[in-house]
Amino acid sequence: MLGLNKKDTTLLIIVAALTLLAPFILNPFPADSALAQFNAGYPDLMQRFVIFGIFAIGFNILFGLTGYLSFGHAAFLGVGSYSAVWMFKLLSMNVIPAIILSVIVAGLFALLIGFISLRRSGIYFSILTLAFAQMSFNLAYSVLTPITNGETGLQLTLNDPRILGVSATADGSIPVTNLFGIEMRGTYEMVAGPWSFQFNTGYYLCAIIMLLAFYLAVRIFRSPFGMMLRAIKSNNTRMSYTGLNARPYALAAFVISGMYAGLAGGLMASMDPLAGAERMQWTASGEVVLMTILGGAGTLIGPVLGAGFIKYFENIFSKINDNVLHSWFSFMPDGLEDAMVALVYPFIGKGWHLTLGILFMLVVIFLPGGLVEGGQRIMRAFKRRKPDETSSETTTEPAE
């Protein structure tokens, strides 16, 4: 189906089902229960899951396939966001032109940086990309404030021209982002017994775009072009002695992944029209590297899992405070309750970084292939229990 083989089609269908049903899947706990703290099915976080999923999928096209480790990819995301917000300020609140512009601008920016950085390989390439991104961040924060609004981030105001729209709505507010009139922030809440589920227009736009991005990534992975990219990672020497010019291949991968980042940035601005300079900082670039490695570099689904994992911790664990802990452990006798709270407290709320750091270490120590490997091990254990007619794996698909 869709030019994919059976296995990939299955994968695509699973991913599509997971994303489209995310409002249910991410809200497994009844809204009033103590565990509702762990529900992630609210629009902002769901949007972030898929947007960072797109970012990581794109990053993986570069890093997972060619092995070039860019430490400056956040710059493209930032540039995409700025372009989109400028489009909202100048043209209209429709998200389509904003997203298109952000992809184009990020692509051009990636072409420029990639052209220079790809003259070197290995860690030298990483440092070059890092240097470009840090320069972008530092300048965006300070000297380029007229374009980026510096520390505060680029925001919409009531005085923006918006040639094809209105500067301010009739009741004096800033108009909201929309897709031909459908507001991105529109949310419908479905209450089913003790559960409640939120369906957000913006999320579904992001989800559909992510599915397209994922589909495109699958096609790239399975194409001769994708094979060439893996060949670069595997053996650059053989590549050139086979009559292939590795540079344009790597550059194409770099630009494509830069455009994915721009797309993610544009979507972020479309969901929430603000573009902050921190999006370009090295920590943001590092985050996408971590997402990809954590999920499983070079696999199709890994980066999406990694993105979800990190964003979940950032948004859910950071919000647990000692009051919540006390309510969880309130069934225990007082002394024990306090002891439990004291024990767990360092790992939640302001300690969420600590938990994340420990999990990074555990995953990389015990699951060298990232979360995908964890999944594979579970599947294998599952298969072994059932009598299985398929022969045991003699080879693992290199790209899977």
Binding site: S223, R230, R238, L244, T395
Partner: protein
């Protein structure tokens, strides 16, 4: 006029004269061996032929065109393929994919953005690759992870990948170095078979005299960066200067 003409090539590394006035002519469809003791400049010469090094002076012509200043991939596209001392294959890829890449390179050139086609739908390429693997007796290994194969199989695959491009000149850099006797003999048989079946010129650098004398039609002896003699294998065997400079040492 040979297919490969090396004229007055000099190469210095700092104070070391790696190549001094090398002249070499490889006749089309022949097998030409270059031998010499360690440090004689064999590898330097080879690197000058494929664009990895640029000679200080002199010229290297392939089929009437200069190769100097061209990048390795451009030289490959001219029809020169190289086999390395340690097999250079795409270790992370399957054997079949390894074989497909040179065929793609032959068909599409140095770069083509074929990002939407599905590799499995490239019937013509897959067929050619499988055919090539068949002829190497590797068809059963087509889905193997190539890095996990034996050295002999890797060598076989590498030679196959070079041949899949139908090169006019095949350069072999000590193709049997570090190999077990059986693998060496297999490799010799493979090369003999190639020589017999194809219109191909082979230039080989080799330490193992058994390999050289089984394959070569002409031999150039290099010592201290300069060709000592060039002749047929029989003559070389008995040449006093060669015995003194080279064979004597390694005997």
């Amino acid at each position: 006029m040979g297919i490969l003409e090396v004229k007055d090539v000099n190469k210095r590394f700092g104070g070391l004269q790696a190549l001094g006035n090398v002249n070499l002519s490889v006749v089309e469809n022949s097998c030409h061996a270059i031998i010499g003791p360690n440090g004689a400049g064999k590898s330097t010469l080879l690197n000058c032929l494929v664009g990895k090094l640029i000679p200080d002076t002199g010229s290297v012509m392939f089929d009437g065109q200069s190769v100097l200043g061209r990048k390795p991939y451009e030289i490959n596209q001219m029809g020169i393929s190289r086999v390395f001392q340690t097999p250079e294959i795409f270790g992370d890829l399957s054997v079949l994919e390894n074989m497909m890449i040179p065929i793609f390179a032959k068909r599409d050139g140095a770069f083509r953005m074929h990002a939407v086609e599905h590799t499995e739908n490239e019937k013509e390429i897959v067929d050619q690759a499988e055919h090539m693997l068949d002829s190497l007796n590797m068809a059963d290994k087509r889905h193997f992870h190539s890095a996990s194969m034996s050295r002999g199989d890797k060598r076989r695959l590498e030679i196959g990948m070079c041949l899949a491009q139908n090169p006019r000149l095949l350069l072999l850099d000590e193709p049997t170095a570090g190999m077990a006797r059986a693998d060496t003999n297999n490799t010799i048989d493979l090369l003999k078979q190639i020589k017999d079946e194809r219109d191909i010129t082979i230039a080989i650098i080799e330490h193992d005299m058994h390999v050289v004398f089984s394959l070569a039609e002409r031999i150039t002896v290099l010592a201290q960066g300069t060709p000592l003699v060039e002749d047929t294998p029989d003559k070389i065997k008995g040449h006093p200067k060669v015995r003194e400079a080279y064979l004597g040492e390694t005997a």
